[in-house]
C-alpha cells in the first residue's frame, strides 16, 4: 500500500514540476540536503521512464490540435510554414542535446547538494519569471535566432534550480514572442527530447535489478498523466494572463532560504 501511495505522490510531483516553473531538480537537491540522501529512495529507471512517458503523452493530448495542424502538408509546397516550425523545434533542441550528451559527467558533478548554486539559480528563475510577467509587446513569432536562444535557455535549465519551462517561456516572452506561442513552443520542444532520452535509456542496456510492482507503475503513470494535463493547461492560462509572478515569489523565497542555509550551516 505504501508503495502505491509513494508512486502516486511521485506521479503528482512529476506532473506538476514538468509544467509549472518551480524547478524539480532544485527542490530535489534541497530535499537531499534537508532529509539526507539515505532517506530519499532514488526512483528506479522503470518508474522514471513510466512518469516521463505519462507527462510527454499529456503534453501531446493538450497540444494534439496544434500538432495535427502543424503536421499537415509537410511534403507539399503549402506546408512551408509548418516545415519551418518543426525545423525551429529541431534547432532549439541542439544545445540541450550537445550539453546533455557531451557533458554528462560534468553535469552530474553539479548535483552535489550545493545549496548556494541551487539558491542562486532559483533566484535567477524568479527574476526571469518576474520580468516575463512585466514584458509588453509580445507579438512576434519564433524565428531561427529566437529558437537558438530558447534552446540555450533549455540547455542552461539542466542546472539544478533553473526551471526548464520557466527559463524557456520567460526567455521566449522576453524576446517579444506571443505568450501563448511561447508556452506552446516550450512544451512542444521538449517532447522529442523526452522520447529520445527514454529510447536511449531503454535501449542502451544500463539495467540493474528492478522489483517495482506493475501496479505501482500504473498508479504513478496515471497520476502523472492526469496531473500533467491539468498542470499544462493551468500553465498556459497563467502565461497568457501574466500570472507567473506568484511562481517568481515562491522561487525567490525558496532560493533565499537555500542561500541562508548554505551560509548558516
Amino acid at each position: 500500500m505504501f508503495e502505491l501511495i509513494e508512486a502516486i505522490i511521485l506521479g503528482v510531483i512529476q506532473g506538476l514540476t514538468e509544467f509549472l516553473p518551480v524547478s524539480s531538480s532544485g527542490h530535489l537537491e534541497i530535499a537531499k540536503v534537508l532529509l539526507g540522501d539515505d532517506s530519499l529512495n532514488e526512483e528506479s529507471m522503470l518508474m522514471t521512464v513510466s512518469l516521463h512517458a505519462a507527462t510527454a503523452l499529456s503534453t501531446i493530448i493538450v497540444f494534439r490540435h496544434d500538432i495535427k495542424d502543424l503536421s499537415k502538408h509537410l511534403i507539399r509546397p503549402e506546408g512551408k510554414t509548418n516545415r519551418s516550425f518543426w525545423m525551429l523545434i529541431v534547432i532549439s533542441m541542439i544545445p540541450a542535446v550537445i550539453i546533455g550528451l557531451g557533458f554528462e559527467s560534468q553535469i552530474e558533478q553539479l548535483f552535489s547538494r550545493n545549496m548556494l548554486l541551487v539558491g542562486s539559480m532559483l533566484l535567477l528563475t524568479a527574476i526571469l519569471l518576474y520580468f516575463a510577467d512585466m514584458a509588453k509587446n509580445t507579438v512576434k513569432k519564433v524565428g531561427v535566432k529566437e529558437a537558438i536562444i530558447i534552446g540555450l535557455a533549455q540547455a542552461i535549465a539542466i542546472l539544478p534550480g533553473i526551471s526548464r519551462s520557466g527559463a524557456t517561456i520567460s526567455s521566449s516572452v522576453l524576446l517579444g514572442i506571443d505568450r501563448e506561442a511561447s508556452a506552446r513552443f516550450s512544451f512542444l520542444m521538449v517532447i522529442p527530447l523526452i522520447f529520445g532520452k527514454m529510447a536511449k535509456d531503454l535501449l542502451d542496456g544500463s539495467f540493474s535489478n528492478y522489483d517495482e510492482s506493475i501496479l505501482a507503475l500504473i498508479c504513478g503513470f496515471i497520476a502523472a498523466f492526469v496531473t500533467g494535463i491539468l498542470a499544462c493547461k493551468l500553465m498556459i492560462r497563467l502565461v497568457k494572463s501574466s500570472q507567473l509572478k506568484y511562481f517568481s515569489w515562491y522561487c525567490s523565497l525558496i532560493g533565499i532560504i537555500a542561500i541562508i542555509y548554505h551560509f548558516a550551516s
Binding site: L57, F207, Y210, I214, F221
Partner: protein, 105 residues
C-alpha cells in the same frame, strides 16, 4: 381582431419563457459536459488502452533481474533478451500506438 392578436402574443411569450428555462438549465449543461467528455471516440480510446497495455506489458517484462544470492553474478539474468530487447521494443511500440490513437480521426 385586436383581442385575438393580444391573445396570440401572450401565449407565444409564455411558451418562449418555458422553453428557454428548460434549455438553459438542463440541456446546456448536458451539451457542454458531452463536448468536454467526448474528446475522442470509442476507437481512439480502445487504441489508447491497447497502447497502455503494450507499455505495461513491456514494463512488466523488464522487471526482475535480481541474482539468486549476493555471491552469484549471472549476465543472462540481468541482461536477458526479455529485459534488454523484447521489453524496450514493447514499451516503444506502445508509445507509437498511443501517438496513433491520439491523432487518429
Amino acid at each position: 381582431m385586436a383581442n385575438k392578436k393580444k391573445k396570440v402574443v401572450v401565449t407565444a411569450s409564455k411558451e418562449k419563457k418555458t422553453v428557454k428555462a428548460t434549455v438553459s438549465k438542463s440541456q446546456r449543461i448536458d451539451q457542454s459536459s458531452n463536448q468536454r467528455v467526448l474528446v475522442f471516440n470509442k476507437s481512439n480510446y480502445l487504441l489508447m488502452l491497447a497502447g497502455l497495455a503494450l507499455i505495461f506489458l513491456g514494463l512488466l517484462l523488464m522487471t526482475g533481474g535480481k541474482m539468486p544470492s549476493p555471491d552469484v553474478w549471472d549476465d543472462n539474468i540481468i541482461y536477458s533478451t526479455r529485459r534488454t530487447l523484447i521489453a524496450p521494443i514493447l514499451i516503444l511500440a506502445g508509445l507509437a500506438v498511443e501517438f496513433f490513437a491520439i491523432f487518429r480521426k
